[in-house]
């Protein structure tokens, strides 16, 4: 079956069709089919609100998203969620266990939950994520939430793909300063203190507000929202803050800019991936590439010389 067989139903937000098209994007096989599919998606000219949610493991992000997504659905939105889990760097497999927490969302009409593995992409977000976001957008989901593992580098990735970044933390989680050091504070548009029925919640909120004031983010003042996701408390406030941010972005023309940044970022990643594949191919399969490698191993040349020789070879052959 080809993608065209599923496209009609996909536009009706049929689960099977959407699921299969995402799998096609993930599989990376047959680049031509993927390109055609993405072109068809772009012609739908939809514009989803992309919300990236990240935070430390154990902060209850998934439960939070389940509640937030339900709230958004109650307001009449159609919500797609992508939860990203890390693939094992050695063997490439992964256990995708996030979706068990989406008890409410995964059953609602007009909502869709998909797990994705990072598949070795260093940035923490799979190469295909950008395409999947655009696919869900084309399929008619007006809010697309991307959840990541919160391990550091992936937060920076989200900045490139999301309109709004929500950062989730919990009271008394070790050293708040550590969070700052990672540069995380700079990327958050909305901050959440979840599990705020635990001791120290008020202090955490206060400190966050002070820290944010120090950094500043231009015109947008990132709010700090207290939630207890397991009890569905504070969810409406969070939802409203997110919608407020959307209005802000649209008003200031920022949303369009962000979309362009997103596309540029994805283009750059795609090029990186292609180049990286090409390089590996050259080093491992090309006669000249192997010859250079042998010289390097025999100690006849050093890595800088090897690098120059390889580069001039590649450039000469037109990057093939």
């Amino acid at each position: 079956m080809s993608w065209t067989d599923y496209f009609e139903r996909f536009l009706q937000r049929d689960r099977l069709a959407t699921g299969r098209l995402i799998s096609l994007l993930e599989s990376g096989a047959d680049q031509e089919e993927v390109q055609e599919l993405m072109k068809a998606c772009l012609t739908q000219k939809k514009d989803a609100y992309v919300v990236g949610i990240t935070g430390v493991p154990g902060s209850g992000k998934s439960t939070l998203i389940d509640q937030l997504g339900s709230w958004l659905a109650d307001q009449g939105h159609t919500v797609g969620v992508i939860c990203v889990d890390p693939s094992s760097p050695f063997r490439g497999g992964a256990i995708l266990g996030d979706r068990v927490r989406f008890k409410n969302l995964s059953r609602r009409k007009g909502c869709f939950v998909r797990s994705m593995a990072t598949r070795g992409h260093l940035g923490g977000l799979g190469v295909a994520t950008h395409d999947v976001v655009q696919l869900l957008e084309a399929g008619g989901y007006d809010v697309v939430i991307v959840e990541t593992v919160g391990a550091g580098q992936s937060e920076v990735e989200i900045m490139r793909t999301a309109d709004t970044v929500v950062l989730v933390t919990v009271p008394g989680l070790g050293d708040q300063m550590q969070v700052m050091k990672a540069g995380i504070m700079e990327i958050g548009d909305v901050f959440v203190v979840n599990q705020s029925d635990r001791p120290g919640a008020k202090d955490t909120v206060e400190r966050l507000r002070n820290d944010i004031a120090m950094f500043g983010k231009g015109e947008w003042r990132p709010p700090v929202v207290s939630t207890v996701a397991t009890k569905n408390e504070g969810i409406a406030e969070l939802g409203e803050a997110i919608i407020q941010r959307l209005n802000f972005l649209v008003e200031k023309g920022e949303k369009i800019k962000l979309r362009k940044t997103r596309d540029l970022g994805a283009w750059s990643k795609l090029l990186e991936q292609r180049f990286s594949d090409s390089l590996n191919d050259f080093i491992n399969n090309d006669e000249m590439g192997r010859a250079i490698q042998e010289k390097l191993e025999a100690g006849k040349i050093d890595i800088y010389q090897a690098s120059c020789e390889a580069w001039s070879r590649i450039v000469r052959s037109g990057g093939e």
């Binding site: 266990g97 068990v100 927490r101 397991t230």
Partner: protein, 559 residues
């Protein structure tokens, strides 16, 4: 100063070195051997290995520290209770099986419930569909409890009601109490056991909806507190090492976790104003009996020692009865194979023997069709006979703790006891057992161990006769008769529920449920309120729904 003569031990040490050098060097069988839990096993044990051994370390039978057994006369005075598990179908189906077993000599009844009952769903709930009456008996209300024990002399036989989870335990215990009251049986005559272990609820078994560990632990303690005050002969808790072991742990963890739970329970009840001597004598334990024959025996003996030390030194128990550990044993289900199932009779007989040599108070021997389904009547009978053979044909019960004094067994007992204590200390460092469960630590321990064991079995490192040790290719499995669950159970139970709900006083029912809801948020025992709700004809599912709503649900850690 040990029981051994120092000079003779020194001489023996020399003799051992000589023997090792002259006779035992370079012969076949070199290498490292260990028990299942990793304790090194030497080729030969001598008094040198227990040279610091004092007889007081093990004591006499029926006296502290109770290593040799909790009664002076052990099985001479009181044969181990041959308590075979039974559970399937409707209450009246199971009632018939009880009568069958009692007729054939069983001295206690052990009830297993179906999954919807265990996890607190009425038989007409969507979650119950396809599971009613499978693997256990279906109970939705007090009427079912009445039917289940109809004609069973519950004031004479010992009744084990296997309510794994504290959340459903409070409800079913309440139903049992209400049933007994209706039959005019004084509470002082009720003799039996509940399991009631929060580890079962939050760790050992997964489920679509789980209460938070702290809430489950609270309900666990509520039942123990209530029972201590009102049911003098009832054992309100049986710390479940068995199911934890089956899920994937070794003998040390099995006992370490159960004892940590006992510590946590005791500390909580003391906080509530009770004295340890009020409740300690009714705490009981439930061990698994695996294949490592001597390690399991050592575990049985060691667990009594560690319990004694904890009760005496840590919890300051004064009464002697508080220091002795009583336990039921079930032979290890997971060691029984689907291939060549009749071999399982041998496996469980050996495990059963170890249990008795270890001093168990009661025993369930798994049936040979364990890997297929709940036992058939035939298989159940073989298990009962196995127990009887051990009890009356082997003479092992004629003397107490016959393995005491064995250099190996005493060495191993001490080693196991030390390791259990170290494990408990580790859990203490994490803030106690409830915290260790909340954090997912225990789940991880189980997952890692189970995964490792599987690897060992598949690689052949762990040998199983008939499976990876001389397996017979192409040999058809014995065509044994396999038990089928009665299929009409679901419909029958649903019908009963319809009638039951119609027959109640709705106003009274609502009032009791509201009060139950409220008490969940107070530092007060829920039992009286559950009993009232049961009397007002609340169903099991309705009571559990209150707990689920008021305590909230908890996410099972991903491993």
């Amino acid at each position: 100063m040990s029981i051994f003569n120092d000079d003779k031990v020194k001489k023996l040490e020399q003799g051992y070195e000589e023997w090792a050098e002259e006779r035992a060097k370079g012969i076949a069988g070199a290498g490292d051997y260990t028990t299942d839990s990793g304790i090194p096993m030497k080729l030969l044990y001598t008094p040198v290995d227990i040279k610091d051994f004092e007889y007081e370390d093990i004591g006499f039978s029926g006296a502290p520290p109770f290593v040799r057994g909790i009664y002076p006369n052990m099985y001479r005075g009181r044969m181990f209770t041959q308590r075979q598990l039974a559970g399937f179908g409707t209450p009246s189906d199971l009632n018939k099986r009880f009568k069958y077993l009692l007729k054939h000599g069983a001295t206690g009844v052990n009830t297993l419930f179906d999954l919807p009952t265990i996890r607190g769903y009425d038989s007409d709930c969507p979650q119950a569909a396809g599971n009613v009456g499978d693997c256990g008996c279906s109970v939705d209300s007090v009427l079912d409890i009445e039917e289940l024990y109809d004609g069973i002399p519950i004031d004479e036989v010992s009744v084990s009601v296997v309510t794994h989870l504290p959340s459903t335990n409070v409800a079913i215990l309440a139903m049992y109490i209400v049933m007994a009251e209706k039959r005019g049986i004084p509470f002082e005559k009720l003799s039996g056991t509940n399991q009631n272990d929060f580890i079962m609820e939050t760790c050992v078994g997964s489920a679509p909806e789980i209460l938070p560990p702290r809430a489950s632990f609270r309900l666990q303690c509520d039942a123990v507190e209530y029972s201590t005050k009102h049911l003098p002969r009832w054992n309100p808790i049986s710390y479940n090492g068995y199911n934890l072991r089956e899920a994937g742990t070794d003998a040390i963890t099995e006992v370490g976790v159960a004892l940590s739970n006992a510590i946590a329970t005791s500390e909580e009840l003391i906080r509530r104003g009770m004295k340890v001597d009020d409740f300690a004598r009714r705490l009981s334990f439930f061990w698994d009996l695996f294949n490592d024959f001597f390690e399991e025996i050592a575990k049985c003996r060691a667990s009594r020692k560690v319990y004694h030390d904890i009760m005496k030194e840590r919890l300051n128990a004064q009464a002697e009865r508080s220091l002795l550990m009583r336990y039921h044993v079930q032979t290890a289900g997971i060691t029984l194979t689907a291939k060549e199932p009749l071999n399982n009779i041998a496996r469980s007989a050996i495990q059963g023997l170890a249990a008795i040599l270890g001093g168990a108070q009661s025993l369930h021997i798994d049936s040979y069709d364990e890997a297929y389904s709940a036992p058939t009547e035939e298989a159940s009978l073989v298990s009962l006979r196995t127990q009887q053979i051990i009890g009356v044909e082997t003479n092992v019960t004629n003397t107490v703790d016959p393995l005491a004094g064995s250099y190996f067994v005493e060495h191993l007992t001490k080693e196991v006891a030390d390791r259990i204590k170290a494990y408990i200390a580790k859990i203490d460092e994490m803030g106690g057992l409830v915290a260790a469960v909340e954090s997912g630590w225990l789940h991880n321990e189980i997952a890692n161990y189970a995964y490792e064991m599987q690897g060992e079995t598949e690689s052949g490192k762990r040998q199983i006769a008939g499976v990876n040790y001389f397996p017979q290719e192409g040999r058809a499995s014995e065509t044994i008769e396999v038990f089928s669950y009665p299929e009409e159970t679901e419909e029958l139970q649903k019908e009963k529920l319809r009638t039951f709900r119609k027959s109640r006083d709705d106003a009274k029912h609502k009032k009791c449920m509201d009060e139950l809801r409220a008490v969940c948020h107070r530092d007060e025992n829920v039992m009286p309120y559950v009993i009232d709700a049961v009397k007002a004809f609340a169903t099991l599912g309705e009571i559990e729904d209150v707990f689920r709503t008021e305590f909230g649900l908890w996410q099972f850690p991903l491993v």
